[in-house]
């Protein structure tokens, strides 16, 4: 795939974390395999819409959510490793959102009892952006953010 030249995008300014409405446990049903795919949550274009679609309440900033193995700079936005660890007791679900992607929500993981609240996967990032980790525990919602810069290296055209 020969893509045109794109420039290294300057990192976005400090994003003030305005009130977020975050994920409700819409996957309460224990039955995991045939659950419906929440189309609305994955179709939204702004942070607020995404969280509204997930039916969540007001999240509180939390230091007990940590990004693990998530580099400051991604050599290419096509594959960005993201790891999230939640030390909040009784974590029920962890969601990963990319602020500046066309659709914010990348993935939602439901953590049944007995499974450790530690998830890592890889996401696509359209550009340098904040990544939000949303955790739901006992009906309450918590959030942490980390900025990942995307460089668009490469040699020619």
């Amino acid at each position: 795939m020969y893509v045109g030249r794109r420039t290294f995008l300057k990192s976005s300014g400090g994003v003030t974390l305005y009130a977020l409405v975050t994920a409700a446990g819409w996957l309460d049903a224990e039955e995991a395999l045939a659950q419906a795919w929440n189309k609305a949550a994955f179709d939204t274009h702004s942070l607020g819409d995404t969280l509204h679609a997930l039916g969540g309440g007001e999240p509180t900033q939390s230091k007990d959510i940590e990004f693990v193995q998530t580099p400051e700079i991604a050599e290419n936005g096509a594959v960005v490793p993201v790891g999230v660890t939640s030390r909040i007791p009784k974590t029920e679900s962890i969601a990963i959102l990319i602020e500046k992607n066309p659709n914010m929500l990348a993935a939602v993981f439901d953590i049944p009892t007995g499974t450790e609240p530690v998830i890592s996967t890889r996401v696509k990032m359209a550009q340098t952006s904040n990544i939000y980790a949303l955790v739901k525990a006992e009906g309450r919602y918590y959030v942490a953010a980390k900025e990942v810069k995307v460089t668009l290296g490469g040699c020619g055209g």
């Binding site: 395999l33 594959v79 066309p102 990348a106």
Partner: protein, 103 residues
């Protein structure tokens, strides 16, 4: 549908660490091919991981999950020789289940 997943399930202490690599294009629907035609969206939507019948993880993914997805997590319990099954369903309704033995 497609190629088998690569699943590694290893018992470490009292927990089983699971690492999965899946073969999937994860098309976002925003890409164009060489002739300028938009390539339609096609991505894994739901994941289910079960250990001897019990769900140890379930997830819903959007097209922002990277191509050839990678997933890693841990759950308490599991014993050497137990069976672990990983199942995905994508936006075309294709699905795939692969199993691995906990080492």
């Amino acid at each position: 549908m497609g190629e088998p997943m690569k699943i590694r399930a290893t018992l470490t202490g009292d927990a089983t660490e699971v690492k999965v690599l899946m073969n999937h294009e994860m098309e976002t629907g925003q890409r164009k091919d060489a002739q300028g035609q938009t390539i339609p969206a096609w991505f894994i939507q739901t994941i289910g991981v079960t250990w001897t019948g019990k769900t140890v993880l379930s997830a819903q993914w959007g097209p922002a999950v990277a191509k050839n997805p990678f997933l890693s997590f841990k759950f308490k319990g599991g014993a050497k020789g137990d069976t672990l099954a990983v199942r995905w369903v994508d936006s075309r309704g294709d699905q795939r289940t692969d199993e691995a033995i906990i080492a």
